[in-house]
């Protein structure tokens, strides 16, 4: 299967939405001495492998999948990229 048949979807919490995991990880980093880290935001990554004969624009298809299921539009936004 060629590389171009894969799409990677990144799901992040929207700006301004509290990320309790990020806040807690930042505190742990401070405890480890990394006081130069201003903020930690967590995100999710999904890699979709499409059948080689999938028709149409895979970017549009991956975006549709993000909108329908992978991301919750109330709190999250997404980006998709090939590969």
């Amino acid at each position: 299967m060629s590389q171009s048949r894969k799409m990677t979807c990144h799901i992040h919490l929207k700006k301004g939405v509290l990320d309790p995991q990020g806040v807690t990880i930042k505190q742990a980093l401070e405890n480890l001495g990394y006081d130069d880290v201003l903020e930690v935001r967590s995100s999710k990554v999904f890699t979709l492998t499409f059948r080689e004969d999938t028709d149409g624009d895979l970017t549009l298809r991956a975006q549709e999948i993000c909108r329908k299921l992978l991301a919750n539009p109330v709190i999250e936004q997404f980006t998709v990229e090939e590969g």
């Binding site: 509290l18 309790p20 807690t24 299921l69 992978l70 919750n72």
Partner: protein
């Protein structure tokens, strides 16, 4: 009045709801399997707590696409009474039947304990047996119960009387310390604009008899029954 309790793979409060309705409310109740697209005739449908589909992706995100939810969404859109408790509330949010979303608790911990709720609107089918401003004691048990919505949504929910329960002190004061999970505006339960769909994080079915520590939760079910008996909320499934 016939109640239905949906069982998703991973539901773990379906029997609690069933028993509260059968043994305490003394009403007929049946389980509804998540694969059933035709749910038959019910007067009220409960979506129970638990970890439907393992809470994979986001709590409630996979359950929302199960065959039974198509029927539940249709039932709710026709005015049928739907109660989503804990994971059931999360499923209702993911389904778009209620506005907003759940974030991880601000402590990042799973919290399981009795808390106090103030009833913010007692003229709904789910709260008519509760006094306005009454404080009820009902337990929570969740990791993702930090209710979030846009500022504009919160204002609209409040103005429309859609905020049904808020976390409070035993005396009924809304304070940050009495907010167990960081929910916006201390929100513990909301209903839709039409008032026929309730979502709440606390578990009324776990507080349906004094042996369990409180029977305040029974008031939610008793209210539903009273609304159904008055005839205003009955919808054919």
């Amino acid at each position: 009045m016939k109640f239905g309790v949906v069982t998703f793979p991973g539901s773990n409060c379906d029997y609690d709801n069933y028993m509260a309705i059968k043994e305490r409310l003394l009403q007929p109740v049946e389980f509804i399997w998540h694969k059933d697209a035709d749910i038959g005739t019910f007067d009220c449908i409960c979506l129970p707590g638990g970890f439907s589909y393992g809470d994979y992706l986001r709590s409630g995100a996979i359950a929302r696409f199960s065959p039974v939810m198509r029927a539940v969404i249709d039932y709710a859109n026709r005015g049928g009474l739907v109660i989503g408790i804990c994971n059931g509330f999360q499923v209702l949010l993911e389904s778009g039947l209620l506005p907003g979303a759940m974030l991880r608790n601000r402590s990042l911990r799973f919290i399981c304990k009795y808390i106090y709720l103030r009833c913010e609107n007692n003229s709904t089918p789910f709260t008519n047996q509760i006094e306005a401003g009454e404080v009820v004691k009902i337990p929570i048990a969740h990791a993702d119960g930090n209710y979030y919505s846009y500022n504009g949504d919160i204002k609209e929910l409040t103005a429309n009387g859609q905020v049904i329960f808020r976390y409070c002190t035993p005396a009924g004061k809304i304070t940050d310390a009495a907010n167990p999970n960081g929910s916006t505006a201390s929100i513990a339960g909301i209903c839709n604009r039409k008032g026929n769909v309730l979502g709440m994080m606390p578990h009324p079915e776990r507080a349906a008899e004094t042996l369990l520590g409180s029977e305040d939760g029974l008031k939610v079910f008793a209210s539903t029954l009273a609304a159904l008996k008055s005839g205003v909320a009955r919808v054919a499934t």
